[in-house]
Amino acid sequence: MGTIIENRQLAADMFLCKVSGCYAGDMGQFYMLRGWTDYPLLSRPISIHDVHEDGITFLYRVRGVGTANMSQLRIGDELQLEGPYGKGFPQVNGRVGLVGGGMGTAPLLYAAKQLIRAGTRCEAYLGFQDAPFRVDAFERVLGAEHVHVQQGGSVVDIVDIAGCDHLFVCGPTGMMEALWQQVRGTNAILHVSVEKRMACGVGACLGCSGVRADGGRYKACTDGPVFRAEEVDFDDLYVL
């Protein structure tokens, strides 16, 4: 249970929410959030956007009843959050490209922060269909010259793949798959953050199951949400 200290609208449907308290978590991990008691039934998986000494932030897009409810919360309201859950982005060596599409930029800010903290060089490639958001936050972490924004069109086109040893991507499946087409065969390693419907978040329900490239199954909540691109069956990611 945390207390909301910020819940600010950034763009059409995008909100930034900060919950006070001392929270753990690594880049790419997520929390199960609920800003309500009984309804809707399930909590909602939301990635860690940033962690500060005085709180944790989430960046979310209003989609349905749960996120709409969250967007109504005000400073002082309580929010339940359980986590951190999942296997996030790995600490890697070499140059990292962070590639985010829309709401998929959410986990990449904290990734940028943790990578920079570890002395890893990184570039951010952020794509937006409409007005960009949180670009300033990326710029503060990485320096403006390392943040590349694409508005409309495909962010994949602007990624300097050859300049990266690792790529962390989060966004619509089509965008992630397009990037994978570009990356596969190069020396860069692509880490994708997948989305599946989740009930428990802890590996107990087998509801977030996805298909591995080898035909086997993974649990997005505990084996993921981050996988190496070659491990996952992209077709299956379109099923949500």
Binding site: L41, L42, C200, G216
Partner: protein, 318 residues
């Protein structure tokens, strides 16, 4: 002064709170939230003789106050369970119930036989002197007769009493482990089904398994689930489940374990008053990973506040 303990089929439970099959993995998933020892017991994910990969496509869909799931019995199979899970289960002092599924009578019987054999081995090993205290890894079998009957074209075993009887009888013959039969809410006559279980020597029954529901993705003009229909659980179906538990409890003398949408201590009291000897908690684990410990504390608090020192005082009172 307050005792929450209960005894079902000779197995004693610290409290009547049992975690439901398929919502609690093999027990360790929630151990970051509380010790499994706090629970009355838990049921494993449904196991089948052979491993199953489960269903393709969407497996979960939320509905108003309910949850549709179509996991499709993804599980590692009984042999793998025995090899990989039972050692750690021996460390845990709570009642472990193996939920057993199958698509044919033969599969059920062979599964039950392997569990029986494992249990016998374990008992023998345990009676040998051992430095660390250990507990059985399999205390009971919960027979899930809601599985689609492969030989009869996918119709559940648990719908017609006659069809269910063949499974219960066959499994009863191959195991001495306490046997709980888990009933489906789709059973044509729940009272008749319960009586059949009692006649066939089941030690207890549990109910309900999920209802069957449907969701259509209207944009894609397709059912959301690969198998069209999916199992429905959660608070939405609680009033329906409570009625079935009440009907079953009126029909038999063996203990009835009630479940379906339980989320509060008051819900546990309600099922108890309808006749339940213990309850299972399923979907609510997803909503609140501390469900086990919070419901146990809540139940104790309710009993204190209402001066009920043993649930037997109110069991089946309605």
């Amino acid at each position: 002064m307050i005792s929450m303990s209960c005894n079902i089929a000779g197995v004693s439970f610290k409290n009547p709170i049992i975690m439901a099959s398929g919502t609690y993995g093999f027990g360790k998933e929630y151990s970051r939230y509380y010790a499994l020892e706090e629970l009355g017991g838990f049921c494993t994910k449904g196991l089948t003789l052979h491993p199953r990969v489960g269903n393709p496509g969407v497996r979960l869909y939320e509905t108003p106050s309910g949850l549709l799931n179509s996991i499709g019995l993804e599980n590692p199979g009984i042999a793998s369970f025995i090899t990989n899970e039972t050692d750690s289960l021996q460390q845990v002092d709570t009642v472990k119930i193996v939920n057993l599924g199958g698509g044919t009578i033969e599969e059920y019987v062979e599964g039950a036989s392997q569990l029986e054999e494992h249990a016998r081995h374990e008992r023998e090993k345990m009676s040998a002197v051992s430095p660390v205290p250990r507990f059985r890894s399999v205390d009971m079998i919960e027979l899930n007769i809601s599985c689609p009957n492969v030989k009869q074209g996918g119709m559940q075993f648990g719908i017609e009493t006659a069809s269910a009887r063949t499974v219960v009888r066959a499994v009863r013959q191959v195991t001495q482990l306490p046997l709980i039969v888990k009933l489906s809410p789709l059973a044509h006559d729940i009272g008749e089904m319960a009586v059949m279980c009692e006649e066939e020597g089941a030690d207890a029954i549990s109910l309900i398994n999920t209802f069957s529901g449907m969701k259509i993705d209207i944009n894609n003009r397709k059912p959301v689930f690969h198998h069209k229909y999916a199992g429905m659980s959660g608070p939405a179906i609680r009033p329906l489940a409570l009625r079935l538990v009440h009907l079953a409890a009126q029909a038999v003398r063996i203990p009835v374990i009630g479940m379906g949408g339980i989320v509060t201590a008051e819900d546990i009291i309600e099922f108890t008053m309808a006749g339940a000897a213990a309850v299972q908690i399923g979907t609510y684990n997803f909503v609140n990973p501390r469900a086990g410990i919070e419901l146990r504390d809540g139940l104790e608090a309710w009993m204190k506040a209402h001066q009920v020192s043993d649930l037997a005082e109110i069991r089946g009172i309605v």
